[in-house]
Amino acid sequence: MADDLNGTYHYPFPEAPEELVKFGDGAIEGRPAGVPSSYDEGGSLRWTPEAISEVHALAQLGRYQVRGYNTFNKRFPTFDDLTFVPATMTRLPLEGYRESCDTTTILGGGRGLVEKPLELKIPIYIASMSFGALSANAKEALGHGASKVGTMTCTGEGGMLEEERAASNKLVYQMSPARYGLDLDHLRRADALEIVVGQGAKPGTGGLLLGMKVSPRVSQMRTLPEGVDQRSTVRHPDWLGADDLAIKVEELRIATNYQVPIFLKMGATRPRYDVAIAAKVGVDVVVVDGAEGGTGASPELLLNHTGIPTISAIRAAREALDECGMSGKVSLVAAGGIRSGVDVAKCLALGADAVMIGNAAMIALGCNSPRYLDDYKKLGTSPGACHHCHTGMCPVGVATQTPELTARMDVAAGAERVARYLTAMTMEVTALAKACGKSNVHNLDMEDLRALSFEASAFTGVKMAGIDRAYGW
C-alpha cells in the first residue's frame, strides 16, 4: 500500500515546514505554485479554444459561417506524406541538366471520337474559377499566362468572359447546373466542354457567390438581380442520373459537331464508383477535385468536413478506370491543394494524366502578397493568412468585382508571374522525373513513390518507406 511507504524512514533533520514543501513562499494564495496548471492552460482535446469560439460564433449568429479559400482541416494525409525514391542501383537516372524529359500532355483523344483532342505542352492547367469569383483582370491574366506556356484555362461557372476567351489559346467551357450565360455560340467557340457535377471544396452543393460580388457585369452575365446572394442549383436542370447524362453527352457532341472533348468534373467523394460511372456515360476526360480544393465562398463546415484527400482520390479514380478497361480511353485530371511541381509529380505518379491548379494560380497572381496591408487589416487578417475571397474585398484585386480593387490586378504582370510559376513547376516535375530515370513525365508511377506515414500508405496503396510493402488490409 502506498500509505505504508512513508512509515519507516526518518530524516536526519527536522521535517520541512509544509509552507516550503508547497513553494508557499511568495506564491499566489490558494494556488499550488509551479504545478503545471490545467486551470491556466486548458488542455481538452475536444474543447480547444477554436471549438469554443466556434460555439460562441454559432450561438451569436444563429447560423453557420461562410468563407472562401480551402479546408483548414489539419488531419489530412497530404502530398508531403509521400516521397520520391529516385534511381539508384535498380535503374538509371537521366542527366538532370542535359537530357530531355517530355511534358506533352494529350487530353480527350483516347476514345477517338473527337476531331480536336487537347494537346498541352505541360501537364498542368488553370482550374475552373468563374468570372464573378475572380475579377476580369485576374481571368485575363490567367489566360495569357497559360497561353504563354502552351497550356489552358477554364471558364468556371460564370459563363464565357470575352477577355478570357481572347487571352486563352485553349479554353474549357464549363456547364454548371445553373447554366449561367449558356450559349450555343460559346459552346462552339470553346476548346472543350466541362459538365460540372461537383467540386472538391464543397461536393454535393452548388456554387456560391455573395451579393458583394454580384456586380452589374456579373449580374448581366448570369441573369441575376444585382447584389443578390447567388446560391446556384446543385442538380442539373435537364438530367438526373447516369443514363440521362449519357444522352446529354451525345447532345453536346452533336452541338459541337464532334469537334472538342467533353470533360466531367466531380468533387472527390466516392471516386471508385463515380469515376467508373463517368467513364460509362461517355465523357473523354474525368476531373477529380480533392477535398483540399479551393472555393470563392462556402459554408465553412463543408470546406472542413466533406470530401476525401486528393492523394487518395487519384488512386481510387485510376483503379476504377483500370478496372473498367477505360484507362487510355478516358483521361484523368487531378486537382485539389496542389502547390508545386513536386505535388504535380506526385499526382502524375499516383495515376493522374494532368493536374489543374486553382488556389496556387491565384497565389501566383498575387493573392496573399504583402501589399496594401491596411486593407488586409480591415478584413481582420494579414498577408499569408487571408482567406476572405467571400467578402469581395480582396486587397490585391484577384477575388473581387470592386473597380478600385480590380485595378490593382495588373494583367501583364499577373500573366508573367503565372507563366513563370507554371514554367518553374514544370521544371520541378521534370527534375524529379529525370532523377527517377523517366524521359517522359507521364512515365512516373507508384513505384517511384514511398509513403512516410501509415495513413498515406493505407489511403493510396503506395509502399511504406523502408519496409517496401503497402499497408496491408
Partner: protein, 231 residues
C-alpha cells in the same frame, strides 16, 4: 408544304441525322422529319430561318440549343425539350416530359397537352405556354421569363425563383419555397394575353395567379457579412 425536304430517322446514327438536318436547313426553309421512333437528340442547335416538323414523338432534348428555328413535334416529347434555346418557337402537340425549356434564354415553347416536372427550370428568358397542367417544381430557380399554365400546377410550384414568373389559371397543388402569389395588374394580364394572342389562347374569364419570388432567399448568406470579416 409539298416542297418540304423529308428526312427519315429510323435506326440511323443520330449524328448522321443531325448532320442531314443541319445541311438541309441551309438549302430548304421547311423540313419534315419522319419515322422519329422517339429517338433522343433530334434537331440540336438548329439555325434561324428554318421550319422543322417532327412526325410522331421525340425523345430527350429535341430542339435543344435552338437558335431561331420553328420546331413542331406532332405528338409527345421527352425530357429537356428546347433546353438552353436562345430563340425560335417550339410546339409540342402532346405531352412534354420533364424539364422542357430548362435554362432557355429566349424564344417560345408551346405545349398543347400537359407538361412534366421542373418545366422552365433555371430559365433565363423567353416564354413557355402549357395548355394543360404543369408538373411539380415548375420554374425551379427561374431567373427570368414566364411560364404560363392554362391548366393547374403540381406541388412546389415556382420554387426558389429569381425574377422568373409562373402564371397559373387552374388549381395549384402547393407553392414552392419563397413563392408568393401576387394579384396581377391589368397591364400584366395584357402582357400575358399578348403572348397568348398569336396562339389563339386568350380567354378573358381566366382567374390568373401570378407567382413571383418572395425574395426571402435572395440575401440569405450575406446578411451577416460584417461578422464574417472577422473569421
Amino acid at each position: 408544304m409539298s416542297s418540304r425536304y423529308v428526312i427519315e430517322v429510323g435506326n440511323r446514327h443520330i449524328k448522321d441525322v443531325n448532320e442531314e438536318i443541319q445541311a438541309a436547313a441551309k438549302a430548304h426553309h421547311s423540313l419534315l422529319v419522319r419515322n422519329t421512333l422517339s429517338r433522343h437528340n433530334l434537331g440540336i442547335g438548329l439555325p434561324k430561318g428554318v421550319d422543322v416538323a417532327f412526325e410522331g414523338s421525340v425523345g430527350y432534348y429535341c430542339g435543344g440549343l435552338n437558335t431561331g428555328a420553328i420546331v413542331t413535334v406532332e405528338d409527345d416529347a421527352g425530357w429537356g425539350t428546347g433546353e438552353g434555346m436562345d430563340a425560335g418557337h417550339i410546339t409540342i402537340g402532346g405531352y412534354a416530359g420533364m424539364s422542357a425549356g430548362a435554362a432557355m434564354r429566349g424564344g417560345t415553347i408551346h405545349v398543347r397537352g400537359d407538361a412534366g416536372p421542373r418545366i422552365g427550370v433555371a430559365m433565363k428568358g423567353g416564354n413557355i405556354i402549357v395548355e394543360g397542367k404543369i408538373g411539380s417544381q415548375a420554374g425551379f430557380m427561374a431567373h427570368a421569363g414566364k411560364i404560363i399554365a392554362l391548366g393547374g400546377a403540381g406541388a412546389s410550384c415556382a420554387d426558389a425563383l429569381w425574377q422568373g414568373e409562373v402564371w397559373v389559371a387552374g388549381e395549384i397543388e402547393s407553392l414552392g419555397v419563397d413563392a408568393v402569389v401576387k394579384e396581377p395588374t391589368a397591364e400584366q394580364v395584357a402582357e400575358v394575353d399578348a403572348i397568348l394572342e398569336p396562339l389563339g389562347l386568350v380567354d378573358s374569364a381566366r382567374n390568373w395567379r401570378r407567382i413571383v419570388s418572395g425574395q426571402r432567399l435572395w440575401y440569405f448568406e450575406s446578411r451577416d457579412a460584417n461578422a464574417w470579416l472577422m473569421i
